[in-house]
């Protein structure tokens, strides 16, 4: 995994907010916390498919806008009484630029 792909700049995502990367395999939600940590997870709540990027971000967690499930952005695990998991993706931030691994956005053409 030596070639990372740039998806945008940290300062184009609001603090305690998220924006999406559209890929052939669906949307990846990229979050920026209050202290500028960046996380990438599937933009789809495992409960009822809610768009997690639209949720309220607090600490390193997000609350789904549909039915208030809360996910830890670093592990993807549902918090509290709910049980479930959302897929997380590796991100790399270099000088304010955000990179993800190429397999997420490319589809092999064999």
């Amino acid at each position: 995994m030596d070639e990372w792909i740039e998806i945008g700049r940290v300062d184009t995502i609001p603090r305690r907010g998220a924006r999406c990367v559209n890929t052939p395999n669906g949307k990846i939600a990229v979050f920026r916390t209050q202290d500028d940590q960046i996380f990438a997870i599937d933009n789809r709540c495992p409960h009822r498919g809610g768009p997690l990027s639209e949720g309220i971000v607090h600490g390193a967690s997000v609350t789904c806008p549909m039915h208030n499930w809360v996910f830890d952005l670093s592990t993807g695990q549902a918090q509290g009484a709910d049980e479930g998991e959302v897929r997380t993706y590796a991100v790399n931030v270099v000088e304010g630029r955000i990179f993800i691994t190429p397999d997420l956005v490319l589809v092999a053409a064999e």
Partner: protein, 814 residues
């Protein structure tokens, strides 16, 4: 391939069985449910609090629609099954739906038994079984006379509920004391006295001869000639297993559908459980046995050996203020002894029936906290010789010295049952509190189901919380806003003003928030409080708003949005309608709907299209209708004196004036208004947050109505003589609510909390105070009346409406 499981009936027994099944074998079964009722699964035990008005239907739902979706269950509502084809393994419903099964579960429950006295088929004779029955009873209305036939558990709960609803209630009971199957005559007498004290008339040894009336009920005649006039008769003499379908299908049926210890009928592919089943000659009508059956059946279906051995049941009457517990057998007999405690002035009666030094029956009236302890001794067959002298005083008195009630709970063994409805024992509750780090009743209910059904064990669960958490549990304390703080909403609002806190970080710092940046509960609340308290100074924090308020549209289940432009007072014109039609065409908007608030909703708009849609609507002069806002929504009007021959005032004009004055204002929860031009009230003003009824002499101002989760007519606040006065009062009332309301607290809940007198004192009786509230609202509006759509059309928050990056077509990766 998954196995096809078809369930006939959607009551509490199959609901619980499915919970066990999905836990044991998720995904293994493809489940189809046929429900005769037009709704989801709800807690039937709690119908009595719904009848009495202490709870709403929404509060007693066990499985909402989303639960069925989540587990891939097909639920057919209003679809009673009429035929089982056992050879083809197929069922068919009355409305023609067909399903094939590998396993069939019959859970048709029971039907109320209606004694075939003359007149029993008249309109106005109802039973007490489901939510429809509750609605029918409530339709009788305050002050009407109702006769309840049957003085058992169900009849008495119905009588108590109807009495609380302000009806005149008579209970007729055939035996000489009430609840004679669960209570001995002494307790039955005390119970009768308690009902009489509440104003319910009780006639025992009442043999109903006939129900009187021509087309509908007019009265009841007893065999001794007594006639009781009434407009409704509630039949609550008993239930019988609903086994007709099974019988027609050729299954073995006695009173109920005969099942073995695995809940299997005589057809190996068909099971029965719940009130319709007959196990070892017994049909059960209480919830605990049904839950035990559900557990056994779930195990059987997944192939785990399990066996139902029958149940010993206990009974509690769910009438607020009457404490009653009974269990086991309390008939007198040669080989039995009894211990009785009576305290007439305190209204306490306790009786234990013993055989061979073991408790076989217990009746407690007036003080029932030792019920679970006696029941535990009974079920375990404990030899009580050693504690005989103090047994009846209860667990606290064992071991010589009286202990406090907490010690009694502490002394219970881990396997002692705390929640009879759900079969949850003490050890399960305490270990879950510790294991899951629970801090309150809600957590225990969510994780163990204890106290989540009838609620009568709530105080025991609270004592266990106390015991397990020590000083960390304080139920009397103010409910904190959320887990991030100890402060309640009112304290936070007070301190924001007192300490001059003008940003979310300032609040969190000064009030010692426990989290770094709050949570999804406290942040939107704080944002509202700051917006409301510091107009012009506080900068709104979009990231602390719920998505709908952040993007000024309503998110839908598929992630698209709905867009509702304002139509002032519900008035529109060809230009606006054309613009809406053009926008719908241009952006291929899939659905256009007229709303209940007299506007038009465009549904299914893609997020990235929102600015384009808004730009076109703005160009036609329309602004956001704030249909997503905890703020002013609509002012609904009728056509009033402009057009209507009954109209007394210009209700449309006043509605438009109010809406133009108040739009853009944020409030603790959504705010819906209406103005009707005459008391015929075509704008339905009397179920709104604030409603105006125009009359010849001016304007009656109503408030605190509700027509959502709760239904509540408005209260009359006052009369205004002129439009100007009406507007000033409405605005002042709104400002008072803005300043005092807790986030998400609708106006009727706020009014109930603070009391109408304090509202009258601020906005009606004292002209100067009213004016001050009015002026604070006016000041705040200069910062609030900015169309959020136009701002975004002009580029605000552009990042919201575009992706961070697009990787469109598949790309070769060598």
């Amino acid at each position: 391939m998954s196995e096809r499981l078809v369930i006939v009936g959607n009551g509490m027994a199959p609901g619980r069985m499915l919970e066990h099944l999905f836990e044991a074998a998720p995904g293994r079964f493809e489940v189809t449910i046929f429900n005769a009722e037009p709704r989801v699964n709800y807690n039937r035990l709690m119908l009595s609090p719904v009848l009495s008005g202490e709870k709403s239907y929404a509060e007693i739902i066990t499985h909402g629609d989303e639960w069925y979706a989540e587990h891939g269950v097909t639920l057919h509502k209003s679809a009673p099954v009429t035929q089982i084809d056992r050879a083809a393994k197929r069922v068919q419903s009355r409305n023609g739906l067909v399903a094939e099964y590998d396993h069939l579960v019959i859970a048709t429950g029971s039907s109320p038994f209606i004694p075939p006295v003359p007149g029993h088929q008249l309109a106005g004779v109802v039973t007490y079984r489901d939510l429809d029955d509750v609605d029918k009873m409530l339709a009788a209305g305050r002050g009407s006379s109702i006769v309840v036939i049957g003085g058992g558990l169900l009849g008495l709960e119905a009588a108590a509920g109807l009495k609380l609803r302000g009806m005149d209630v008579t209970v007729l009971h055939l035996a000489s004391t009430l609840m004679e199957r669960q209570l001995d005559p002494a307790a039955g007498y005390l119970l009768e006295k308690a009902f009489v004290d509440r104003g319910v008339r009780v006639i025992t040894q009442a043999n109903t001869k006939q129900v009187l009336g021509q087309d509908r009920v007019e009265g009841v005649e007893l065999s001794d000639g007594t006639v009781i006039a009434c407009s409704m008769v509630v039949m609550a003499v008993g239930i019988r297993p609903a086994s007709a379908l099974a019988k027609e299908s050729g299954l073995a049926v006695n009173r109920g559908i005969v099942v073995d210890d695995q809940m299997r009928t005589d057809d190996p592919h068909i099971f029965a459980l719940g009130e319709c089943a007959e196990h070892r000659g017994i049909c059960y009508g209480l919830v605990a046995p049904l839950y035990e059956m559900g557990q056994v059946l779930a195990s059987t279906l997944v192939g785990v050996p399990a066996s139902y051995q029958g149940s010993v049941t206990s009974t509690k009457l769910k009438v607020t203020g009457i404490d009653l517990f009974s269990a086991g057998d309390f008939g007198e007999g040669e080989d039995r002894e009894e211990i009785v405690l009576r305290d007439a002035s305190a209204g306490i009666y306790k009786r234990l029936v013993l055989k061979d030094d073991r408790i076989i029956g217990a009746v407690l009236y007036g003080e029932t906290s030792d019920g679970p302890w006696f029941f535990d001794l009974l079920k375990r067959g404990v030899d009580t010789r050693e504690m005989r002298d103090t047994l009846v005083f209860g667990q606290a008195y064992q071991g010589g010295t009286p202990l406090d009630p907490m010690a009694a709970v502490a002394a219970l063994p881990d396997e002692a049952e705390i929640c009879g409805c759900n079969g949850v024992c003490k050890g399960k509750i305490t270990s879950t509190i510790t294991g899951k780090g629970l801090t309150g009743l809600d957590g225990v209910r969510a994780h163990t189901k204890a106290s989540a059904s009838c609620g009568s064990c709530t105080h025991l669960v609270e004592q266990l919380l106390h015991l397990t958490l020590g000083a960390g549990y304080n139920p009397a304390a103010v409910q904190p806003m959320c887990g991030c703080t100890e402060y309640g909403h009112d304290d936070v609002r007070r301190l924001i003003i007192a300490k001059g806190l003008k940003s979310i970080p300032a609040v969190m710092q000064e009030l010692e928030w426990k989290t770094s940046c709050g949570c999804a509960k406290c942040r939107p609340a704080l944002n509202y409080y700051l917006v409301s308290d510091w107009p012009g100074e506080y900068e709104d924090d979009g990231q602390s708003r719920f998505i709908n308020e952040r993007v000024h549209a309503n998110i839908q289940k598929d992630g698209t949005y709905s867009v509702v432009p304002r139509m002032w007072g519900g008035m529109t014109n060809p230009k606006e309608l054309r613009a809406i039609a053009d926008v719908a065409d241009k952006f291929a908007i899939p659905a256009v709907k007229v709303t209940g608030g007299q506007r038009i909703d465009l549904l299914g708009v893609k997020k990235e299209d929102l600015p384009g849609v808004w730009a076109d609507l703005n160009a036609a002069g329309m602004v956001s209708g704030a249909a997503y806002a905890k703020g002013l929504r609509t002012v609904k009007t009728c056509v009033g004196s402009d057009w209507c021959r009954f109209g007394t005032q210009d209700s449309t004009g006043l509605g438009i004036r109010i809406e133009k004055f108040m739009w853009g204002a944020w409030t603790p929860a959504k705010l819906k208004l209406a103005v009707s031009g005459c008391p015929r009230n075509c704008a339905e003003a009397t179920c709104k947050d604030i409603g105006v009824i125009c009359v010849d002499s001016g304007y009656d101002i109503h408030f605190a109505g509700a027509a959502g989760l709760d239904i509540k007519g408005t209260e009359l606040l006052c009369h205004a003589n002129t439009e100007d006065e009406a507007l000033e009062i409405i605005v002042a009332l709104t400002q008072l609510y803005r300043e005092q309301g807790r986030y998400l607290e609708r106006i009727y809940k706020w009014a109930k909390r603070v009391g109408t007198p304090s509202i009258l004192a601020n906005v009606v009786d004292d002209r100067d105070k009213r004016r001050a509230y009015y002026e604070r609202f006016v000041y705040s509006q200069q910062f609030a009346q900015v169309d959020p759509w136009q701002e975004r059309v002009n580029g605000k928050d552009a990042h919201e409406f575009a992706a961070l990056a697009e990787f469109g077509m598949p790309v070769a990766a060598e």
